[in-house]
Amino acid sequence: MDQLLLNQGFPLLSTLIFLPLAGSLLLFVVRDPHFARYWTLAVTSIVALLSLTLLPKFDRDTAAFQFAEHHPWIESLNITYVIGVDGISILLILLTTLIMPFCVLASWTYIKDRVPAFMICMLIMETAMIGVFVALDFVLFYILWEAMLIPMYFLIGIWGGPRKIYASIKFFLYTLAGSILLLVAIIWLYTANGYSFFIPDMMWKDYPFTAQILLFIAFFLAFAIKVPMFPFHTWLPAAHVEAPTAGSVILASILLKMGTYGFLRFALPITPEATTTLMPYVLWLSIAGIIYGGLTALAQQDMKKLIAYSSVGHMGFVTLGIFVLNIDGIEGAILQMINHGITTGALFLCVGMIYERTHSRELSSATGIGQYMPVFVTLIGIFSLSSLAFPGTNSFVGEFMILAGAFRHDVPLALAAIPGAVLAAAYMLRMLQKIIWGGTNNPDQSWLTDLNSREIITLAPFLFFVFWIGLGPQPFLAMMHSSVVNLLDQFHGYQQAITAAGMY
C-alpha cells in the first residue's frame, strides 16, 4: 500500500465519481425535458469545476497514486474500494470531466425526445468513465469498464441514426466479447497474487513466461478492441456513424482512451516480459492501423465515418508511442490521447452541428457551406488542421514526440509511420475543401444559418486547448512526467533483473 498517498479530508475522487450518479437519480423522478437539460449541465459543470481542484493539490514529483481512498468492500473476496490518481490518469480524468458539459450543450437541441433518459445515460456514463480511470482495484475497474457499455448502448440504440440497432448491438457484443477474457485474466491474477485485487500489487511480478503471454493476449484483446487497433476496429465506424453527437464525442474522446490507458496501466507493468516479446507485432499492427485508417478515411463520403476511420489512424499513433517504450513515445502517446480527445471530439461536434441543419452527414450535401457559415468553417478548419498535426496545434506536439520516440526505437518503423501523416493531410483537407468551397454545382445552402452563441461556446474551449497544448505543452507533460519515468524505470529494471537471472 506504499504506492498510495491517502487522501486527507474531503473525499474528492469519490465525490467526482458519485456526484453524477446521484444527480441522475433526480431525473428518474422529475421528467421535465427543460429541467433535465439544465440540471445535467449543472451537475456536469460542478463535477468539472470540482475536478479542477485536483490540479493545485496534485504533486507532480511523485509517481504514487494520490488522493487515494481505501475502503473494504467485499471482504470475503478481498475486494476493496480503492481509488487513486497518478500522472497517467489525471489528464484523462480532467478530459472526461471537462468534456461532459460540452456534450450536454451539444445535445441541447439535437436530442428532442426522451431527454431525461438521455441525460440519465450521460450522467451514468460519466460516473463509469471517471471510475475506470481512478479504479485501483481490478474488480472495481472491471465492473465500471463493463457497466459503461449499458448507457452507451442506449445512447446509440435509442438516439442513434437509421441503423442504430445494428450499430449498438455490434458495439456492445464486440467490446464485451473482447473484455470477457480480461475477467478470466483478472481472476487468474487474483489467485496468483495471494488473493488480492489491488492493481499495484500485481505489477512487476515474475509470473511464468507462458502465463505472461496468455495474460497479455487477454489484455490485448480487451484493450485493442477498445482502442480500436486494426483489425479489431470494425465496430467503431458503425458506432460512430449511428451515435448521436454527444455519443460520438464520448466514444471518440474518452472511451477509446480506455484501451490505451489499459495498455499503460496493465499490459506494461503486469506483463513486462510478454510486452517485450510481443512488442514488434503490436508496433507493426499500429503502423498498419495508421496507414489503413488513413487510406480508408480517404475513401469515405460520410463525414462521421471519415473521422471515425481517422481515429483508427490516430489511435495507431498512440499505440505506436506506447509500445516503443521510451520516454518520448509514452509521453507523446499520453499527450496524443488528450489531443485526440480534444480534436476529434470537436470535429464530431462540428459534424453534429452540420447534421442538425442539413440532416445529412454526407460530404456531398455539406459542400460549399463556407460561404454561408464563415465562423463554422473557420472553426472546423482549425480543428481539421489540428487533426492532421499541423505545427502549432496540439496534435503536432503529440505526433512529433511519438515519432521522435519511434525514431529512437527503430528507424524503419518510424519511416513507415510517416505516410500516415501525409494521408492525414490528404483526407482532412479533402473534407475541408469540400465543406468550405465544394465544387461547381454546390447544392443551394443559402438558407443555412451560422453558429449561434451556444454552439460557439461549446467549441471555444476546444479551440483554446488546441492552441494551448500546441504552443505550450510543458504543463501537461510535467504532470505525467514522474509517473512515466517511474513506469519506464520499473520496466527496464525488470528487464535487467530477467537478463541477470538468465545469466546465472
Binding site: 467485499i74 473476496l77 435509442i158 448491438i169 457484443l173 470477457i180 475477467l183 478470466v184 487468474w188
Partner: protein, 470 residues
C-alpha cells in the same frame, strides 16, 4: 415451533380447500392468497433461528433449511403478488390452483429440510405432482391449446428422472444399509472407489438435475415453459430451482470424495448445459422459451459453483440461484403485466415498452442485463464469484468456456432490450400496471442492484448456513 412454517402452509392449503367448496368471489381468493403468502413468509422468518430434528432424524431444521424456506416463501409471495389476477388460469379452477401451488410449496419446504432419502423422495414427489397438475390448468382463452400435452411431457420426464433417482437410492441403501444422509456420509468415503457407489450418487443427482434443468435432463423446459400459464412458469422457473440447488449442495457435498469421475461428469454437464442453453436461446422468438433455454445455461453456471466442492463455491451457487430467481421473477413480472390476457409473449410484443410502461421496461432491462452478467447487477457478481471459485480450483478451461458463453448470451438478451427500449410501439397500447406491480418491480430492481453491489452480507449468510450442513 420447528414445524411451524410447514404447518402454516398446510393450514393455508386447507383454507383454500374450503374455498373450493364454496363459491368465493375473485377478490376473496386474491386477497386470501396474498395474505396467506405473507403469513407463510412471516412464519418462516420467525423460525429462522430454530434448530432441531423431527421424525426420527429424517427431518432436520437448521439455518440452511430455514434460509431456503425463507427464500422459497419470499419467492412464492412475489409470484402470488404479481400474478394475483391469475389471468392465465381457468376461471373455475383458480382456488384449486392456489391449493396445488401451496402443496407444491409445502413439498419444496419439506425438501430442503429432509435429510433422509425417503423423506427427500416423498417431498420431491409432493412438490412435483402438484406442479404437474398446475400446468394443464391454463385457460384456453389465451390461445394456447397444448397445456395438457405440456403437462404430460413434464410428468413423463419427471417420472423418468425420479425413476433414475429411486434406482440410485436403492443402490445406496444396498451399499450402506441406511437411508439417512448422515449415515451415508459416514459410509461413502469407505466406498469411494466402488463404481456402484459412484453410479448410485450420479443417479440420485439426476433427479435434481431434472428440477434444475441440466443437460441431459432439460428437454422438458421449453415446452413446459411455453405451455404453462405465465404465473405457473414464473413459479417453475424460480422456486423449485432454489430447492433443487439446496439439495444438490447436500448431495454433492456427499459425493465430493468420489474423485475425478464425478467432477468430470459435472464439468461435462455444466459445459453442455451452457452451450446448449445459450445457443438454442439465440434463435427463440417466444420470450418464455427464450428464458427457458437461458435457464438451462444458468443451471450450467450453477454447476460451476457446485463442482468446486468447497464452501465458497456452494455459497456462490446459493447466491447465484437467489440472484437468478430474482431476475427471473422480475422478467416474469413484466411478462404477466404485459400479457393482458395471460397469453404467451413473443419478443416482438415488447416493442416500445418504454412508452407503454416505463417502469416495467426498466425492470425488464435491469433483469436482462443482470441475466447477461453485466455489472453492477447481481448476475455479474454471481458469475464473477462462480468463475473465481472455479479458477481457484484450476479449472481454467472450464472458466474460459463459461466466459465465452457469457458473450454468446449477450445477444439474445440484448435483442429483447432492443425491442423494449429502441423501437416504437407499433400501435400497441399502453400496459395497465397497478401500484402493486410497480412498487414490486422497483423493489426487485433495487434488490438486484444492491445485491450486485454489496454482496458481502448475503454471501456471509450463505456461508454460515452451508457450514451447518458440511
Amino acid at each position: 415451533m420447528l414445524f411451524l412454517p410447514e404447518l402454516t402452509i398446510l393450514g393455508a392449503g386447507l383454507l383454500f380447500f374450503l374455498l373450493t367448496l364454496g363459491q368465493p368471489s375473485e377478490a376473496t381468493i386474491k386477497n386470501c392468497a396474498s395474505a396467506v403468502a405473507a403469513v407463510i413468509l412471516f412464519t418462516c422468518v420467525l423460525c429462522v433461528n430454530q434448530t432441531g430434528n423431527l421424525f426420527y432424524g429424517a427431518y432436520r431444521v437448521d439455518l440452511f433449511s430455514q434460509i431456503f424456506k425463507i427464500l422459497i416463501a419470499a419467492a412464492t409471495l412475489v409470484v402470488f403478488l404479481f400474478g394475483n389476477g391469475l389471468k392465465g388460469i381457468k376461471q373455475d379452477s383458480r382456488p384449486e390452483y392456489y391449493l396445488f401451488l401451496l402443496v407444491s410449496n409445502l413439498g419444496l419446504v419439506m425438501l430442503v429440510s429432509s435429510v433422509e432419502l425417503l423423506a427427500i423422495f416423498i417431498a420431491l414427489e409432493l412438490s412435483s405432482f402438484a406442479v404437474y397438475i398446475m400446468v394443464p390448468m391454463r385457460t384456453t382463452a389465451t390461445g394456447i391449446f397444448f397445456q395438457m400435452e405440456a403437462g404430460i411431457k413434464y410428468l413423463l420426464f419427471g417420472v423418468m428422472a425420479t425413476g433414475f433417482m429411486l434406482f440410485g437410492m436403492s443402490y445406496i441403501f444396498g451399499l450402506t444399509g441406511t437411508t439417512s444422509l448422515d449415515g451415508i456420509a459416514e459410509q461413502l468415503p469407505i466406498l469411494a472407489n466402488r463404481p456402484a457407489a459412484v453410479v448410485a450418487m450420479l443417479m440420485i443427482l439426476s433427479g435434481f438435475f431434472y428440477k434444475l434443468a441440466i443437460f441431459p435432463f432439460h428437454f422438458w423446459v421449453p415446452d413446459v415453459y411455453e405451455g404453462a400459464a405465465n404465473e405457473t412458469t414464473a413459479f417453475i422457473a424460480a422456486v423449485p430451482k432454489m430447492a433443487a440447488v439446496a439439495l444438490l449442495i447436500r448431495l454433492t457435498s456427499l459425493a465430493s470424495h468420489q474423485g475425478e469421475m464425478v467432477l468430470n461428469l459435472l464439468m461435462v454437464c455444466s459445459i453442455l448445459s451452457m452451450f446448449y442453453g445459450n445457443l438454442s436461446a439465440l434463435v427463440q422468438k417466444d420470450l418464455k422459451r427464450m428464458l427457458g433455454f437461458s435457464g438451462i445455461a444458468h443451471a450450467g453456471f450453477i454447476l460451476l459453483g457446485l463442482l468446486t466442492f468447497k464452501l465458497t463455491g456452494y455459497a456462490s451457487a446459493v447466491y447465484y440461484i437467489v440472484g437468478y430467481a430474482l431476475m427471473n421473477l422480475a422478467c416474469f413480472l413484466v411478462i404477466c403485466q404485459v400479457a393482458a390476457k395471460g397469453e404467451n409473449l413473443g419478443i416482438s410484443d415488447l416493442s416500445g415498452l418504454h412508452k407503454r410502461a416505463p417502469i416495467l421496461a426498466l425492470t425488464l432491462t435491469v433483469a436482462l442485463f443482470s441475466l447477461a452478467g453485466i455489472p453492477p447487477f447481481v448476475g455479474f457478481t454471481g458469475k464473477f464469484m462462480l468463475l473465481l471459485g472455479a479458477l481457484r480450483e484450476d479449472h481454467l478451461l472450464l472458466v474460459t468456456l463459461a466466459a465465452i458463453n457469457t458473450a454468446i448470451a449477450i445477444y439474445y438478451y440484448l435483442s429483447v432490450v432492443r425491442m423494449t427500449f429502441c423501437s416504437d410501439s407499433n400501435g400497441l397500447g399502453n400496459v395497465q400496471t397497478g401500484f402493486l406491480a410497480n412498487s414490486l418491480s422497483l423493489i426487485l430492481v433495487t434488490v438486484i442492484i444492491v445485491m450486485g453491489v454489496a454482496p458481502s452480507w448475503f454471501v456471509a449468510l450463505a456461508e454460515s448456513a452451508i457450514k451447518t450442513i458440511l
